[in-house]
């Protein structure tokens, strides 16, 4: 998936992936896509809940070699 911005949050622990994701999403326009890479095991639940509650759309996610990648469309 083509992302407009990529956030590398690998190695960061709670709450930093969410804090950084929020910062990154502020820097893109509505409709653009942010790719977030993280190694935090709670990230899947966290980012799903966060996107829902803050009005963004989690388009897709995948896990590969312990790295979780998420694509979030700014609402």
């Amino acid at each position: 998936m083509n992302a407009d911005k990529v956030l590398d949050a690998k190695g960061l622990a709670c709450p930093m992936p969410i804090v950084k994701t929020r910062k990154a999403i502020k820097e893109i326009e509505a409709g653009q896509i942010l790719e977030v890479q993280t190694t935090d095991k709670g990230a899947k639940s966290d980012l799903t809940a966060w996107a829902k509650s803050t009005g963004h759309e989690l388009l897709d996610s995948n896990e590969e070699n312990d790295v979780f990648t998420f694509w979030i469309k700014k609402g």
Partner: protein, 159 residues
């Protein structure tokens, strides 16, 4: 009135682990675009103390309290397994390994995210803490200010 949701946390405890939990939730709530306030009272005030000794005029009891209480976030003990101060050293090592943010960094992050840090003035008097001994640019308030925030709040926690 803003349409934003609010999170209000009372930090009563002066334990490193409990303060960490409070600040992690606060930073997370700020990332949820909540207006966040941490109201520090009693032992929680010690998280806002400056690390250095600040010369202020104090009575005997105030001096005793001031000397016995931890000076600043990094000096707080653990609520469990403190082991006379060895516990915090051990957990800080483990935190480093897992890339968890130490409490002083969480407080810096909270300020960066414009979380309101409030010191309860009544308990400051009880513990003999003066404004000069606490971090700069925090707010000072009492129970009414907390209730005004909390009555319309979405998340309210007492830690």
């Amino acid at each position: 009135m803003s349409e934003r949701k609010t999170t209000n946390i009372i930090l009563f405890s002066g334990d490193y682990d409990k303060a960490m939990a409070a600040y992690i939730i606060a930073n997370g709530a700020a990332a949820y675009d909540h207006d966040v306030t941490i109201f520090h009272t009693f032992w929680g005030l010690n998280a806002l103390r400056k690390e250095e000794m600040v010369p202020v005029k104090k009575g005997f009891m105030e001096k005793m309290f001031g000397g016995m209480m931890p000076r600043g976030a990094d000096k707080l003990g653990l609520s469990n397994m403190n082991f006379m101060g060895m516990g915090p050293k051990m957990i800080k090592g483990v935190m480093k390994k897992h890339n968890a943010m130490p409490l002083p960094d969480l407080i810096d992050m909270a300020r960066e995210q414009e979380i309101n840090l409030v010191a309860c003035t009544m308990t400051m008097d009880l513990l003999g803490l003066h404004k000069d001994e606490l971090l700069e640019e925090i707010e000072y308030a009492g129970v009414a200010a907390y209730l005004a925030d909390a009555e319309n709040g979405n998340v309210n926690l007492f830690i």
